[in-house]
Structure formats: structure tokens, C-alpha cells
């Protein structure tokens, strides 16, 4: 039996450490500053264990029963700790308070476990063996937990289910103890019912862990989440803070309603206003309809075709009242035709020629997206551009990803286009870059549509001037068979993130 109890020591030690690690991880995940979070969490946890050890001297008779009850409490509180913290972060202001309260509570309970266990075992060992054995298994459990935590628990179970799982382990130890001491504890049935009740609660928690995560999703965004939707291709999240609506695609900020006008005016007008008599326009990507909204300011345009991969996205922006408010219902305007297709493949299968083409794809974060920034793509694009037409592409930030930006320019050049790179300042993005491309030169427009909030005719030429720290740098063209751009991009943004 002594051996079995030592195994219990191992398990409860592992559980104890897991809760501590969970709290630290969650805190650094949600609050940032991992050094501070881990130090304070570990500190308070160890301190609380001290309190627990101290309190253990007040536990007199009924040692085993008390031990079982404490196990159940640890299981319940520890097991639900991640859930409670996630929800607290999402719905209350009291995350920090709850965090430390839980850490202290769990720490105190865990601090009680080992002294009680030692006393339960004291008749079976010499004192010096007792201390050696119990502490050995205690530390072994800690080692086990510290390995299991990063390698299995976090990647496989996640934080919410992981905590619940170890809660179940605590409860199982309690149940098992009732069995080991079946002839020494009273009210056996009651204790066991309690064990099953705790296990039931934790089990139900496991079933609903996904719902908890959905509920807590809003926690990951700074502002109130007013809409979250998974389409076939991406997760769309819309947040709101006062009058600022923000759209995130797969957690990447797409626009903020406060300054998106800067981005979209800069994307559309320097080009479109400069094409005399433009009649047919094409938008690739840009399923939010914001570029189209700007293009609808040109009555001369006869048709606008928008090709976006994600039907979920274009539908949402065509129908949701708030979003229609931002894009002024552009996606349902009579001139506008929305097509849901993969842009490269679509261009390949059609032969339309356009006077103005907007390319508003996600940044080249991987080789799949990188295909949309290759010489092969721009060569195809050239076939779809009318002789006097202009194409413009969002091309990441010339400040943060300078070589990536100039790589896009280089790639268009290699595809036989003339390029005219420019940039604009969009506060929520920073300095942002665009590349205008044509077959025969470019002259800034003589006039702009009325009612613009950012651009003026006289400032357009300035957009094409680059300060020294954003100016041209050497870069290779990006080809399908050698996607150098993805490598530039990855390196440059990694350096920023550091």
C-alpha cells in the first residue's frame, strides 16, 4: 500500500505543478509580459503552499477523510481554473484578482496535501525514509508535469481541457484513496458520491470546452467582438470600440473603420483618376467591398468585377447592416458583379481586358499566397490590362518590410510592366506601400472625385516620393519556382516582432 500511496504523491505533485504552469501560461498569454506573469504566479503559488503547510497542523483527526476532501477541492478548483480565467478575462474586469485568488487557493490546498500524506504514511516508514520517499516522488511528479505540459498537454489538449484533465486525475486519486482506506474511513458512500460528482462536473466541462473557447474568443481581441464567423477559408472577427470597427481575418487586422479611408483612397484614386475614360474595372481580393466603394465614385465606370475566394466574406459584406454601412452597400450596386473564385485560376480562364485593376490580396505570408505575387501572375495580369490602363497592388509596408516591397516592384518589372511605387500613412497599419503598374507610363491625375477625406490632387505626386529609409533596395524577382518574396517577408517581419 505504501507504494500505491507514493504513486499518489507522484500524481498530485504533477497536478499541482500543472495548475501553476497553466496559470502562468494563461496570464502571459492574455496579459503579455511573460517574465512578470510567471514570476508573480510562481511566487504567490509557492507562498500559498507555505500557508497550506502551516495550516496542516490544525488538521487533527480524520486525516484520510480530510485528505480526500482536499483532493476533491484541488481537482475541482484546479480543473476549472483555466475555464474560470478565460471567461473572467472575456466578461469581467476582475481577471487579475481572480488569477491571484485562484493561485493562492490552489496553492494553499496543494500545500496541505504533502504534509497530510506524510502523516498518513508516518506509521509505515522510519522518519528519515518517510521524508526521503515522499519528497522524491513529489519532485519526480514535478519533473513529469514539466515535461508533459509543453509536449503534450498544451499542443494536444489545450489549456482548458488540459486543466480539466488534471482535475480528473486529482479526483481519481481521491476515489482511489477511498478504496485503499475502505476500512479506515467512515461515511464511505458519501465520500464516493462526492468523488463521482466532482468527476461528473469536470467531465461535462470537457464536453463543453469548445463552447468555452468560443465564448472566450472575444478575450483575444482588445475590443468587444460583435461578430465572429468561420467561413471555409478563414475566421472573420469584427470588433467594436466606440465608433471604431475593426475587422480581423485569421487574427490579422484587415482594417479599422477609423482610418480605412486612407488605405482605400490611396489604393484606388491615384490610379483610377488617372485613367482617362476608364470603363471596365476589376478588383482581385478585397471582398470587404471598400475598394469598390471608392470606385463607385466614378460615374464613367460601366462595370466593376470583384473576384474574391471567400463567398462567406463577400456575402457577409453584402448583407450585414453594419458592414454595409461601411462599404455603402457597394457589393450590391448594379454595376458590381461579385465572383467567388481563386484569382489566379480565374484570370487564367477568362479573357476580359480592364482599364483599371486593383489587387488587394493578403500579404505573402506563405508559399500559397506567394503565388499571387509572382512574375507568372503579373504576366497574366498584363494580358488583362488595356493599353492605357493601370493596375495597382497593395504591397506590404515599405518601412517594415522594405525588401519585400521592392521585391514586388522588381517582380512586376520582370513581368514586363512599368512600375510606379508609392506609399501612404495609415495609422493602424503604419506606413503602407502600393505599386502602380502600366504598359505605357503614368501621370498623376489632374482631378479627384469630390468628397475624399484623405487625398488631395496636389499631394498625389508626393506619395511617389520615398524617404531615405524606405527607398529602393536590391531585390530578386519572385518566381513560382523560387519564391524569394516569402523568404524576404518572413525575415523582415520576424525582425520587427523581436
Amino acid at each position: 500500500m505504501a507504494v500505491l500511496l507514493l504513486i499518489s504523491v507522484f500524481l498530485i505533485a504533477a497536478c499541482g505543478l500543472v495548475y501553476e504552469l497553466l496559470a502562468g501560461t494563461l496570464a502571459s498569454y492574455l496579459l503579455g509580459d511573460s517574465v512578470l506573469q510567471f514570476s508573480t504566479v510562481i511566487g504567490s503559488y509557492l507562498f500559498a503552499m507555505g500557508i497550506g503547510s502551516f495550516l496542516s497542523k490544525y488538521v487533527g483527526r480524520g486525516l484520510v477523510t480530510r485528505f480526500i476532501l482536499i483532493e476533491l477541492m484541488v481537482g475541482l478548483v484546479g480543473g476549472l481554473s483555466s475555464t474560470i480565467l478565460f471567461l473572467a478575462f472575456a466578461y469581467t474586469e476582475g481577471f487579475r484578482f481572480l488569477l491571484y485568488a485562484l493561485v493562492i487557493l490552489i496553492g494553499t490546498l496543494v500545500g496541505l496535501e504533502i504534509p497530510l500524506m506524510m502523516r498518513i504514511l508516518q506509521d509505515r516508514f522510519e522518519f528519515r525514509d518517510l521524508v526521503a520517499q515522499v519528497l522524491t516522488f513529489d519532485y519526480l511528479g514535478a519533473l513529469g508535469a514539466s515535461l508533459i505540459f509543453p509536449l503534450w498537454l498544451v499542443p494536444q489538449l489545450g489549456l482548458v481541457r488540459g486543466a480539466l484533465f488534471f482535475g480528473l486525475v486529482n479526483a481519481a486519486v481521491a476515489l482511489w484513496t477511498t478504496h485503499l482506506f475502505r476500512d479506515r474511513v467512515g461515511a464511505l458512500t458519501r465520500l464516493r458520491v462526492l468523488c463521482f460528482a466532482v468527476m461528473g462536473v469536470l467531465g461535462i466541462g470537457m464536453l463543453y470546452a469548445n463552447t468555452v473557447l468560443d465564448l472566450a474568443d472575444s478575450a483575444l481581441y482588445a475590443d468587444e467582438v460583435i461578430l465572429a464567423r468561420n467561413t471555409r477559408y478563414q475566421r472573420i472577427v469584427l470588433t467594436k470600440w466606440k465608433d471604431d470597427l475593426r475587422l480581423f481575418l485569421n487574427s490579422h487586422l484587415q482594417f479599422s473603420s477609423r482610418d480605412e479611408h486612407r488605405y482605400h483612397e490611396a489604393l484606388v484614386h491615384p490610379g483610377l483618376a488617372a485613367v482617362a475614360g476608364a470603363r471596365r474595372a476589376l478588383v482581385l481580393g478585397g471582398g470587404d467591398g471598400l475598394a469598390v466603394r471608392e470606385m463607385l465614385k466614378y460615374p464613367g465606370l460601366e462595370s466593376i468585377t470583384l473576384v474574391d475566394l471567400d463567398a462567406g466574406m463577400t456575402e457577409l459584406f453584402a448583407t450585414h447592416p453594419l458592414l454595409r454601412g461601411i462599404n455603402k452597400g457597394s457589393l450590391t450596386a448594379p454595376k458590381v458583379k461579385v465572383i467567388n473564385a481563386d484569382a489566379f485560376v480565374w484570370l487564367e480562364g477568362h479573357d476580359g481586358v480592364y482599364d483599371f485593376i486593383v489587387i488587394d490580396f493578403p500579404d505573402p505570408t506563405n508559399f500559397s499566397l506567394g503565388k499571387l505575387y509572382t512574375t507568372a501572375f503579373y504576366r497574366l495580369l498584363k494580358h488583362h490590362l488595356s493599353e492605357g490602363g493601370l493596375a495597382v497592388a497593395q504591397s506590404t509596408s515599405p518601412l517594415f518590410a522594405r525588401q519585400s516591397f521592392w521585391c514586388v516592384a522588381e517582380t512586376m518589372k520582370a513581368a514586363g510592366l512599368q512600375v510606379f511605387p508609392y506609399h501612404a500613412y495609415v495609422p493602424s497599419f503604419g506606413e503602407w506601400g502600393f505599386i502602380m503598374a502600366s504598359k505605357h507610363g503614368y501621370e498623376p491625375p489632374a482631378s479627384l472625385p469630390s468628397g475624399l477625406r484623405f487625398l488631395t490632387v496636389s499631394m498625389v505626386p508626393d506619395l511617389f516620393r520615398f524617404p531615405a529609409d524606405m527607398g529602393p533596395v536590391e531585390a530578386q524577382p519572385n518566381r513560382l519556382n523560387d519564391q524569394i518574396l516569402v523568404r524576404y517577408y518572413e525575415r523582415e517581419w520576424r525582425e520587427i516582432a523581436r
Binding site: D342, N366, K371
Partner: protein
């Protein structure tokens, strides 16, 4: 109930479904070749009585693989149009055949053409004609897209096939020294593609690649794996069964000026398709040649249904078959053929993986197989859901005859398990992704450059053999790649034109 309520109820139910024990999903598929029947067909065809319809063609090409098709390509270039290509299978292509299903086209064997060096005139000529090479540059759509290759080593994927994870300093030094030696060899200029024009008889050919590595003091397990992989990949043989000259050729013959190779969803089937655009009227498919009789004034070529009378024949089918179809056949017993099996797996979705992207060629370090090639990799889509993977396995560890026995003895279910366990080393959820596995067995897949064979008089004699009939299959080269098949086919066409 509010829309939200309904939704969350639905998602809860979906979650409960996920909790149900995973049922092993049903995987369909079959062994698609009938190679075990081929021998019988050959014999039965020979025994069939005289009910064959007589036909005439000044020139008959037997075998519609790359060699046969390239022979036809050259004939057309020379303005010679009176020929037929007799192909046993329903579809031409041989080892460059392809398949097609609702998801993608895919190769059955040959899947790429290395970017040809400037010196490889013949291949470049074909590339130019097919629009692959334009003003000295290869069209990037036909070049393998990024990322090209990756290796599953020590539990994670790394870019490129040259092992990088877990190497000690000594390993790295050996890789460097190896690369240096290969550069030296390349600089000698004798490693050309095709190989015969540039080669000088070499002592290297008499030893095995394995012996050569040992002699040069290469003992890094990673380097050995790398070289071993090269031999298995190109020749279907282990380094100990491969001529050191051929082993070096694999590493020293390519300049790699453009990032390649050239590849297509259907592999080299793409090239076959292009060749067929011109050659289709000449191809008679489903025509297995069972007998050849060379006379003083011409050659009779018998299929199961026809009796062709011709002035000359190009034998572009595998050379070992000659002994079954004719009297006085040249001695082909020196050619050793490697047995292979390939599989095409149709996937509902790609396996889940974090932090890395699927490459075109995906290799698993601890595997007797060669990994898998993703047929949808060359797609221009940004998002791939369904896919087809081609899995390659040369039975190199056992003697070829034993390998052929294993090929016949193991049934589809055995291979299914073998393949899924093999890929499962890198993709734990592969069984949830695959809906179909089709297999193709190649008993005599490719000629192997066994030590001593390439520079042997026996091989040279075989390559020159002929009069009214000349040989063209790539197996005459001792190593089986597209360029050799083309070289043999074109050479045969030029020789036979002097006769007919």
C-alpha cells in the same frame, strides 16, 4: 429558439459526434496493372493460329514509351511519315504514363524532367519545341513551384532533402567534402546527360557506390542516407548494387542553373501528351507484339490480331522481352531490372500539420520507400483541399527476382497497410484523409547501373545491335531517365532511316 441557440446546439452536437470512437474509414482501391498476366498473354498470343489481318507499314516502332515516341518525333522531323507505333497498353507512355480522376491528373511513374544543362542539346530542342524553353529561359509555370522538397527527420519537417537537423560538425564536414568532390568530378566534363557521348571508361564503374564512399572515408550516417536515397530514387538500387560511376553521375551531371525540375500534375505524362498531339495518328494502342521475324527483305511483326509487314523495326519495348518474341535474339541477360511499385492516393483533405507547408516532393528519412509527390502542387490555386499523392517504392533491399516474387505475392490490403504505416510516420491522421489507393506494380521497371555494366562490351554491343531491326529502349543505357530514353529513341530513328 434564436439563431444563435440553434447554431450553438448544432456545434455542440458536432462536438459530441467528434467524441464518438473513430471508425476506420473505408478506403477503396485496386491493383491496376496486369503484369502477372502479361507473360501469359505473350505466350497465348504466340500460340494463336493464323487469323491475323495482314497490314503493311514501311517502319514499325514497337513500344510507345518515351523512347518509341521520341523515335517517332525524330522521324516526323525528318519528313518520314510512313510508320506505326505498336503499344501493348491501352494508353501510350510506358513508364511515363499517367492517370486522371475527379481531383487531379497524376503520374504512374516518371514525374519530372531535370532542367537540362546547356550541353543537353536534344532535350533542349524538345523543350523549345514544346514551349518550355523560350529565349534561353524556362517557363516558370512548368518549373516546380516553391517549396520543392522537404525531409521528415527527427520528428519534424525540414526544407530540402539534404539532412540538416541533428548533424554533428563531422557530418557537415563530410557533406562539404562530398560536395567538393562532386564539383571536381563535374569539372572533368565527363558526366553528361545523356551519358554516353561524354563518358570515358572509368575505374569508378567497376566498384560500387558503397565501396567508393568507404574508400573516401565517408561514414556519416546522414551522408550515407543521402547518397543511398539518390541511388534508390534514380536507379531503384542500393548503393552497394550501384556502379560508383553512376552514383557520381547522379550528383555531378547537373548544373542547376534554373531552380527546377520541370514537372506537371501528370508528371512526364505531360510530355507524352504533347508528343501524342503529333504522333497520335501513328499510334496503335492495345497492340501487343508477340513475335518478330527478321527476313532478308523485311521484318514481320505479329500482334494478337495483326500481321505487319515492314522494311524495318525499332524495338523500343524493354529489351529483355526480345528473347520471348524472336529467334536469334541478342543476349540481354546482363541487364538487371529493378522492381518497383507506385501508389496513387486520393485525399479528401491534406493531413493537418503546423508551421510547415507541403512541398512537391516529401521524403521520410526513416523509410524504405521514397516518400510522396503531391500532384496538385503545380496548381495555381492558393488553397488546396483535395489532392492526389504519388508514393514511390523500389524493392531495392532484396534481389530483383525476390522483389518480383514479393510484388506478385502481396495483395492490395497488404500494400495499403504498408503504405499508410509508412506515410503515417510523418502524418498521424493520414488514415482519416485518404479515400482511395490505387497501385501499379512494375516487375521490370528500370535497368540498373550495376557495377561494371555501363562500360561493359556486352552493353555496348547491345546498344549497337541491329540491321533491319534496331533497339531503342532506355534500358540500353544502363540507367533509366527521360533523357536516355529520348537519346536512344532518336538514335534508333536515325539509324533505321539508313535502312528503310
Amino acid at each position: 429558439m434564436s439563431a444563435n441557440g440553434v447554431k450553438s446546439l448544432a456545434s455542440r452536437r458536432a462536438f459530441l459526434l467528434q467524441l464518438a470512437p473513430k471508425t476506420e474509414r473505408r478506403i477503396e482501391g485496386a491493383i491496376l496493372d496486369d503484369s502477372h498476366l502479361r507473360g501469359h498473354r505473350l505466350r497465348d498470343g504466340q500460340m494463336r493460329g493464323g487469323l491475323r489481318e495482314p497490314r503493311k507499314a514501311p517502319l514499325v516502332i514497337v513500344g510507345g514509351g518515351i523512347a518509341g515516341l521520341c523515335a517517332g518525333w525524330r522521324l516526323l522531323q525528318k519528313g518520314f511519315r510512313d510508320f506505326v507505333i505498336l503499344e501493348m497498353e491501352k494508353q501510350a507512355g510506358g513508364n511515363s504514363r499517367w492517370g486522371e480522376n475527379e481531383v487531379s491528373a497524376y503520374p504512374w511513374a516518371a514525374h519530372y524532367l531535370p532542367v537540362p544543362n546547356r550541353g543537353s542539346k536534344l532535350v533542349r530542342e524538345l523543350c523549345t519545341e514544346l514551349g518550355l524553353l523560350y529565349e534561353g529561359e524556362f517557363e516558370e509555370r512548368h518549373l516546380c513551384h516553391s517549396p520543392q522538397e522537404r525531409l521528415f527527420l527527427h520528428g519534424r519537417w525540414q526544407e530540402g532533402l539534404e539532412p540538416e537537423v541533428g548533424l554533428q560538425k563531422a557530418d557537415r564536414e563530410q557533406f562539404q567534402r562530398f560536395a567538393g568532390l562532386m564539383q571536381e568530378q563535374a569539372a572533368s566534363g565527363q558526366y553528361t546527360v545523356p551519358w554516353e557521348p561524354g563518358a570515358k571508361a572509368s575505374a569508378l564503374d567497376r566498384m560500387s557506390m558503397d565501396d567508393w564512399l568507404r574508400e573516401k572515408g565517408f561514414d556519416s550516417p546522414y551522408l550515407r542516407w543521402y547518397v543511398e536515397y539518390g541511388c534508390r530514387d534514380d536507379y531503384g538500387s542500393l548503393a552497394k548494387d550501384t556502379s560508383a560511376w553512376a552514383g557520381v553521375h547522379y550528383f555531378a551531371a547537373r548544373e542547376h542553373e534554373d531552380r527546377g525540375p520541370l514537372t506537371w500534375p501528370e508528371g512526364n505524362g505531360w510530355i507524352v501528351k504533347q508528343l501524342l498531339k503529333k504522333l497520335a495518328p501513328h499510334v496503335v494502342a492495345g497492340a501487343m507484339v508477340t513475335q518478330v521475324a527478321i527476313g532478308a527483305r523485311g521484318v514481320r511483326v505479329l500482334t494478337e490480331t495483326n500481321d505487319w509487314e515492314s522494311k524495318g523495326v525499332i524495338w523500343a519495348a524493354p529489351s529483355y522481352l526480345l528473347r520471348y518474341v524472336m529467334e536469334g535474339a541478342p543476349d540481354t541477360s546482363g541487364i538487371i531490372y529493378s522492381p518497383w511499385i507506385t501508389a496513387n492516393l486520393t485525399l479528401d483533405r491534406m493531413p493537418r500539420q503546423a508551421g510547415t507547408e507541403f512541398a512537391w516532393d516529401n521524403v521520410i528519412y526513416d523509410s524504405p520507400a521514397l516518400g510522396y509527390v503531391v500532384a496538385t502542387h503545380q496548381s495555381l490555386r492558393t488553397r488546396i483541399d483535395e489532392s492526389v499523392w504519388t508514393w514511390y517504392y523500389p524493392l531495392a533491399a532484396v534481389a530483383p527476382a525476390e522483389g518480383r516474387k514479393q510484388l506478385l505475392a502481396r495483395d492490395w490490403a497488404w500494400w495499403r497497410e504498408f503504405i499508410l504505416n509508412d506515410i503515417g510516420k510523418a502524418h498521424r491522421d493520414i488514415r482519416q484523409c485518404v479515400r482511395r489507393i490505387d497501385l501499379m506494380r512494375f516487375g521490370h521497371a528500370m535497368a540498373r547501373p550495376a557495377p561494371g555494366w555501363m562500360f561493359s562490351p556486352a552493353r555496348a554491343a547491345l546498344a549497337k545491335w541491329g540491321g533491319r531491326m534496331v533497339l531503342a529502349n532506355s534500358d540500353l543505357s544502363g540507367l533509366s531517365i527521360f533523357e536516355e530514353a529520348q537519346y536512344r529513341g532518336v538514335g534508333a530513328a536515325e539509324r533505321i532511316l539508313r535502312v528503310v
